[in-house]
């Protein structure tokens, strides 16, 4: 059998493992920094998530039970255990963006990209998820794309302009 590295491990390659090592090192291998470490790792894993094998790798490296790492990953909304995409679009679904009416925003994104909530486009470029208030109520309705906030998205043009920066 021609068992390749990526086959047995899926996402975790030697290169990625080395990157993870250096992230853990940057955080002084300090288990109290697990959340920061996982956030940083998620940033370097393709499609921005923590695959199970990566969680297992981090757990072993840091001598943390896998069950605890999983508790953390499953608990925090910013950590994902399913593959997302290159660009994560987070649509604020909280009360302010509801009363300022984010339906145009939602419809435009779903129409333009052809995806619903918690779905990725076929090319793995975009992922859409609802998220609670991220504190951009002064420019509501708003979205975040890979952490960057875009607000006052009441027209199709404004939404297209925001999305066009991520190709």
């Amino acid at each position: 059998m021609n068992s390749t590295e990526t086959k047995s491990f899926g996402v975790l390659t030697r290169d990625l493992a080395l990157k993870i090592d250096s992230i853990i090192e940057k955080h002084q291998s300090n288990s109290t920094k697990l959340i920061g470490i996982l956030l940083d790792i998620q940033d370097v894993v393709p499609r921005q998530y923590i695959p199970r094998e990566v969680a297992a790798y981090v757990s072993e490296k840091m001598n943390i039970p896998l069950s605890k790492t999983y508790d953390v990953i499953s608990f925090y909304a910013a950590l994902s255990d399913v593959p997302r995409a290159d660009y994560i679009i987070q649509l604020c679904d909280s009360v302010v963006c509801k009363v300022t009416d984010n339906t145009v925003l939602l419809n435009t994104i779903t129409n333009l990209l052809g995806i619903n909530e918690r779905e990725a486009t076929a090319d793995g470029k975009y992922w859409l998820e609802y998220t609670p208030c991220f504190g951009a109520c002064d420019i509501s309705p708003a979205i975040r794309i890979n952490g960057k906030v875009y607000g006052n998205l009441t027209t199709e043009d404004s939404i297209k302009a925001a999305l066009s920066q991520y190709k």
Partner: protein, 583 residues
């Protein structure tokens, strides 16, 4: 100690500072309802069923985590308190599978009891249960999250006591659940199947895998010769199932009940406990005198074996190669016993009654075969035996005492104390001393290895040879001794490890509500059994001697190795990260 005066339901109470309302209320015969509270565990206060009204406080206070203060006034039974306690129970019940009649814990379920107390049957809430699939693919335990009330007791047992970390809480809000990482089935985790989770679960969310049906079938099968062995810890716990005082010794009634259930022969695992001492004691002597990996560690506890094979597989050489008493019995039942009775091993059906859920797994290990058949065919926990007796309609308490059968019916006091933490060590020392020195032991009892302290150690003077030994019960404690070995700082020659707190008398298969108080009473009972026996050293067991003469030869001999010893293997990691990095 500072004493605090308070009123609970207008009754004056004086308790030491640092007492909770829940504990203080017990003093005046007020039993505040509770679910997540467990006397042996840290207070969690997550079920909120124990909320009470404290004068001057806006919210209700959880009685389990609120400490008394001078002048405190507590009401536990007002309309408001009752309504809220009842409401919380309704909330729990609405997301709990109410198929009570089919539940192993029916009649012994803390939620059921509280719902009866509050007269709740049906709620007007939405009762759609959100749960994970049933996990019943391992031989020992069944997890049903549809019944889980998220009290976190099992997580505490798994993480804090056993430090196994198979179970965790995860996710949040309505998706909050208790399960292994990634909701994997238990056998894909480092779970050691000790069953301590099932012993503390207030409901039927984690239970032993019920094997009673196949034992009933075997008993009914005319082609099968069904024999049963009973572990030392069962006889001091089985009485709990029949409301006898905790720590009652029910050996005679138990044998009588087993006979009535229809077992062809009833044998005592104490016999193979003695045999274990002969083999293990000699193995220790050999390692001490001829060289071998030290410290040597006992191997009778299958939860412990699962633990070291999973997490500390680089230390497997430290394990004694002896099979556990259960498996030694099983091996003999399919060889020696078959020989002397002339029954084909294939027709012998060997059942064990064990205080342990991990024994079910141990019996199914592929290496545990003799003469081509599995050595032990079925393992029942104390709880399952109790249910069989109840199911058969046997009035257990009134039974006339009966005795074990030969040739495996004689056990010494040394075999009996296997059931308590420190017992294997003490039994081994009794024999090792006399075998090494050839002299009679001046004092039989090694008090230093007895008791409920997590790690016990003592130094034994064997005619000038200083032997340092240690005993750990509960895997968290065992881990401490392993770390010492890992760092090369272990001063011990011999270590006893039992997976469960208290040893086998606190096993995961023992009757529910085996709290530390109860365990202490069982340990007392075990030592009583030892004291009352005429023979208290394994090497003096006449049946064991006869076995060596007629069949085995000598301890550690060829036949012994074939039948009574085993080998261990690493329970492989799922991912081989080393290989990845070496590419």
């Amino acid at each position: 100690m500072n004493m605090v005066n308070l009123k609970i339901d207008n009754i004056n109470v004086t308790v030491p500072d640092g007492t909770t309302i829940l504990e203080a209320a017990k003093k005046v015969n007020v039993n505040i309802p509770h679910l997540c509270y467990h006397p042996d565990q840290a207070v969690k206060a997550n079920c909120r069923v124990c909320v009470v009204d404290v004068a001057g406080s806006k919210k209700l206070a959880p009685a389990c985590s609120s400490y008394v203060y001078e002048g405190m006034e507590v009401q536990t039974n007002t309309k408001k308190v009752r309504d809220m306690q009842k409401g919380i129970l309704e909330l729990i019940l609405a997301n709990h599978d109410q198929d009570c009649l089919k539940c192993l814990r029916s009649g012994n379920c803390e939620l059921q009891a509280l719902c009866q107390r509050f007269n709740i049957s049906k709620t007007n809430l939405d009762e759609t249960i959100e749960a994970l699939p049933l996990d019943n693919t391992n031989p020992s335990l069944v997890r049903d999250t549809a019944k889980c009330i998220k009290c976190d007791r099992c997580v505490e047992a798994c993480q804090k006591v056993q430090e196994v970390h198979a179970l965790t809480h995860s996710h949040r809000s309505v998706h909050y659940n208790v399960a292994p990482a990634y909701e994997m089935p238990l056998e894909q985790t480092f779970c050691v199947l000790c069953g301590q989770c099932s012993a503390v679960c207030p409901v039927g969310a984690i239970v032993e895998k019920d094997d009673t049906a196949m034992v009933w079938d075997a008993i009914q099968d005319p082609k099968k010769h069904v024999i049963v062995q009973v572990a030392p810890a069962v006889r001091v716990a089985l009485g709990d199932m029949f409301n006898l005082p905790k720590g009652s010794i029910v050996t005679g009634q138990m044998v009588a009940a087993l006979r009535r259930l229809g077992f062809d022969k009833i044998f005592d695992t104490n016999f193979t406990a003695d045999l274990t001492i002969m083999e293990e004691g000699n193995e220790l002597i050999q390692r001490l005198t001829k060289g071998g990996t030290l410290p040597m560690i006992t191997s009778c506890s299958p939860g412990w074996i699962n633990f070291i094979e999973g997490r500390y597989d680089h230390l497997l050489d430290h394990l004694s190669s002896c099979k556990s008493p259960q498996q030694m019995f099983g091996a003999l039942s399919k060889s020696y016993y078959a020989d002397i009775t002339g029954i084909d091993p294939k027709d012998i059906y060997t059942v064990s009654i064990m205080p342990c859920t991990a024994k079910k797994f141990e019996a199914k290990r592929p290496e545990m075969k003799t003469n081509g058949v599995q050595e032990v065919d079925a393992v029942l926990t104390t709880r399952e035996l109790g249910r069989m007796i109840q199911s058969a309609g046997i009035d257990f308490v009134g039974l006339e005492e009966d005795q074990f059968d030969n040739p495996f019916g004689i056990g010494t006091g040394a075999g009996a104390i296997f059931g308590a933490t420190g017992g294997v060590m003490e039994a081994a020392l009794r024999t090792a001393y006399e075998v090494i020195t050839g002299k009679e032991l001046p004092a039989l009892e090694f008090k230093g290895v007895r008791g409920l302290e997590g790690i016990k150690e003592c130094t034994v003077d064997i005619d000038g040879l200083e032997l340092k030994v240690a005993v750990a019960h509960g895997l968290g404690n065992a881990k401490k001794l392993l770390k010492q070995i890992d760092s090369g700082e272990s001063p011990y020659a011999f270590i006893e490890v039992m997976a469960c707190p208290g040893g086998c008398i606190g096993g995961g298969g023992q009757p529910i509500k085996s709290t530390m108080d109860v365990k202490a009473k069982r340990i007392d009972a075990i030592y009583h059994i030892d004291e009352d026996l005429p023979l208290r050293k394994s090497h003096e067991n006449p049946a064991v001697k006869e076995l060596y003469e007629k069949f085995l030869g000598a301890p550690l001999g060829h036949k012994s190795h074939e039948l009574l010893h085993t080998h261990y293997h690493s329970r492989g990691m799922k991912y081989n990260f080393k290989e990845l990095m070496n590419k």
